[in-house]
């Protein structure tokens, strides 16, 4: 059964010149225990989608969805408070720039202990304080912070970015979530610490069977850690499928371009030659193209692209394009992948 099932979620922004559709009918489903990647350029609405799921968007954003199920419960039927209570219990989120997501004037220990729900503690109120402290230390150990005394008694600005992200993960784990949404958890981090954070998330996924929604702009890096990937472009759903399908047999011209622009998939390219890129840049919110928003940049665009394409499903590989790259490119792609594997 799907853990999270979202169908046609739209997010609109109130601007002086009317409402802008920032996220246009995106569907997303997450199965129990899987790591799903959500890929897109910056500004493609992936962070918005994540924040809409957990319900922390500001008032100026308006969210609509055709279906929003969480473990079989129809969340659209619940009131806002009930929905928030349910989601905050089961879903946790970690953000980019962890240092700014921790209250600068509160000790780490305090911020951690307030995330621990009272229902997790047993015993009388005079025992609670000690239990809370033990739970905090346990959480810090879980995320690989050994010097817990030092960490509890410091302020966020006294710690490094990576430690702060670990603390954020610890805070997220405090609620014993079923789904963890990680919104670019390693942005602006060194690659070694990036690896550590991703390994920690992968461990949590395997040991605790915690599902993870991993949001990133880096498709190549994401493929190491995810089971399935959803690609977004400029607030529109592009393609979803298993990691192999997306990386080896992309059907959408945009995903194709994403894969082509990464070095790993292009090992056969002669050295010092240019990587393939799409011309132009992601459209701004005020001037969104109609229909498929990739249209102006798409190498395969034709007249029918001014109408938004429907999502078509090829054996679990969903793609939203009028002219998907079907078999012939798929074959070529797999051949090329074999060749690159042979080289490695």
């Amino acid at each position: 059964m799907n853990l999270l099932d979202i169908r046609n979620l739209s997010i609109e922004l109130d601007t002086p010149s009317g409402r802008v559709l920032a996220v246009d009918r995106v569907s997303l489903s997450i199965k129990e225990g899987e790591v799903r990647g959500l890929v897109g350029e910056s500004g493609s609405g992936k962070s918005l989608l994540a924040q809409a799921i957990i319900g922390v968007l500001e008032d100026k954003w308006h969210v609509h969805a055709d279906r929003f199920h969480w473990r079989g419960i129809d969340l659209l039927r619940l009131s806002i408070d009930e929905r928030r209570a349910l989601l905050c219990r089961d879903i946790a989120m970690i953000f980019q720039e962890p240092m700014s997501c921790l209250d600068p004037t509160t000790l780490i220990g305090e911020q951690l202990s307030e995330a621990i729900d009272t229902s997790q503690l047993t015993g009388y109120f005079w025992q609670r304080k000690k239990q809370r402290k033990d739970a905090v230390i346990k959480l810090l150990h879980k995320v690989g912070i050994k010097k817990h005394v030092q960490c509890i008694n410091s302020y966020p600005h006294q710690l490094t970015e990576a430690i702060c992200q670990r603390v954020m993960i610890a805070i997220a784990l405090a609620g014993r979530p079923i789904l963890l949404i990680a919104d670019e958890p390693t942005a602006a981090m060194e690659s070694t610490t990036q690896g550590q954070i991703f390994r920690l998330l992968a461990n949590l996924n395997q040991l605790k069977n915690m599902s993870i929604l991993l949001i990133s702009h880096d498709l190549e890096n994401l493929t190491h850690w995810t089971n399935t990937i959803t690609v977004m472009y400029s607030g529109q759903f592009v393609e979803a499928g298993s990691t192999e399908q997306i990386f080896n047999k992309p059907m959408h011209p945009y995903t194709r371009a994403l894969v082509d622009s990464s070095t790993k998939a292009n090992l056969q390219l002669p050295s010092k030659s240019r990587l393939m890129t799409l011309p132009g840049s992601i459209p701004v919110l005020q001037h969104l193209p109609i229909g498929c928003r990739l249209g102006p940049r798409c190498p395969r665009a034709q007249q029918s692209c001014v109408a938004a394409p429907k999502v078509s499903n090829y054996h679990g590989h969903k793609v939203s394009c009028h002219f998907p790259l079907l078999r012939e490119t798929g074959k070529k792609e797999s051949v090329r992948h074999k060749a690159s594997k042979g080289k490695r």
Partner: protein
């Protein structure tokens, strides 16, 4: 923390040095003999004048003169008042506590009223209550204090007869002068009418303190509203919401502390403004404080008193500044500790 204290202390010393330089130069700029402006002895005989010239080292270069002036001030000798021919230091000791009391009570009222109102406005941003609070703040800020003081007397003292219009305490109560701060003196005294005196002093305090507090309170409303809006938009508040904290928990545990830190800095700055307002209000309410005394001295061309009043008041304001800096550092962990490269 030691470095922080030392830095503030050195700042204090140098600012005070500049201030004494200013008040020293005033003696030359005021009409009349410099040594008489220094000492305030207008009726000095020839022998006394010669003695004064020697004491203030008027025959030597200006650096020696400044040194002599500084020594006098450091010894607590501000000279005599030209108007009353009594030592200024005695008058200041008598009058300054009343001003401190009044302005601190006014500051307290302004903060207790202004900051929560600003927070409420920020939490209900762009709603009716926000607009009402903001327009009230605008209105309050635009009312001139001398007019408001007279109006308050007209309504509450003459019209309704609720509160006394002038003075610090009714003449019926005889309170011994100990600290100069009326409330402490009343509590320290062993008069059988202690509590009646306390109530009477409070009644005298309410009107002038509220009049003084109005303008700073409106500034605090706007400051706290702006900083609360900033804080509520910060990503750690969003993270706290994602953590599952309730709105009250977020406001009381995270938002208020962070917003207060930004306001505390401005409290020190607003205090100078508040003391200026207090000086005008003291005249209106016949409050026996240093502000009224200073304004009287200006009318009487009491140059010695103007000089030393200036010095003492600015010293007082500066001390409050430093105190708010310390409170800021105590509340804000980012300001504490050693910073490198800043």
């Amino acid at each position: 923390m030691l470095t922080f204290t030392l830095r503030r202390l050195s700042l204090f010393i140098f600012t005070m040095l500049v201030l004494t330089l200013l008040s020293f130069s005033l003696s030359f700029l005021f009409p009349g003999d410099t040594v008489i402006n220094h000492s305030g002895q207008i009726n000095a005989s020839a022998a006394e004048l010669a003695h004064l010239n020697q004491v203030y080292q008027m025959d030597k270069s200006i650096f020696y003169q400044y040194g002599a002036y500084l020594t006098h001030i450091l010894n607590g000798d501000f000279g005599q008042s030209m108007a009353s021919q009594s030592p200024i230091s005695n008058e200041i000791i008598k009058l300054l506590p009343a001003t401190i009391e009044l302005s601190l009570v006014a500051l307290l009222i302004a903060m207790l009223v202004g900051i929560p109102l600003g927070f409420i406005a920020a939490i209900r941003h762009n709603k009716t209550s926000d607009n009402v609070i903001l327009s009230l703040a605008m209105l309050g800020y635009s009312i001139p204090v001398f007019w408001l003081g007279l109006l308050a007397i007209l309504v509450f003292s003459i019209g309704l007869g609720w509160l006394p219009s002038a003075g610090q305490i009714s003449l019926l109560f005889e309170i011994e002068f100990v600290t100069g701060i009326q409330f402490f003196d009343i509590l320290l005294s062993d008069s059988p009418y202690k509590w009646q005196a306390f109530r009477d002093a409070s009644a005298h305090m309410i009107l002038p303190a509220c009049v003084i507090a109005l303008a700073p309170a409106t500034i605090f409303i706007r400051l706290s509203r702006a900083s609360m809006i900033d804080v509520l938009a910060a990503s750690y508040i969003r993270a706290a919401r994602a953590k599952g904290l309730s709105f009250q928990q977020i406001i009381f545990r995270h938002a208020i502390r962070n917003a207060l830190i930004q306001i505390i800095r401005h409290v020190g700055l607003q205090f100078a403004n508040l003391v200026t307002i207090a000086m005008v209000t003291e005249v209106i309410f016949s409050w026996p404080g240093i502000g009224r005394w200073l304004i009287d001295s200006i009318y009487q061309r009491d140059y010695t008193a103007i000089q030393s009043g200036l010095l003492v008041l600015s010293c007082f304001i500066f001390i409050v500044h430093i105190l708010t800096d310390f409170i800021y550092a105590a509340l804000n962990p980012l300001a504490r500790g050693n910073k490198h490269g800043s």
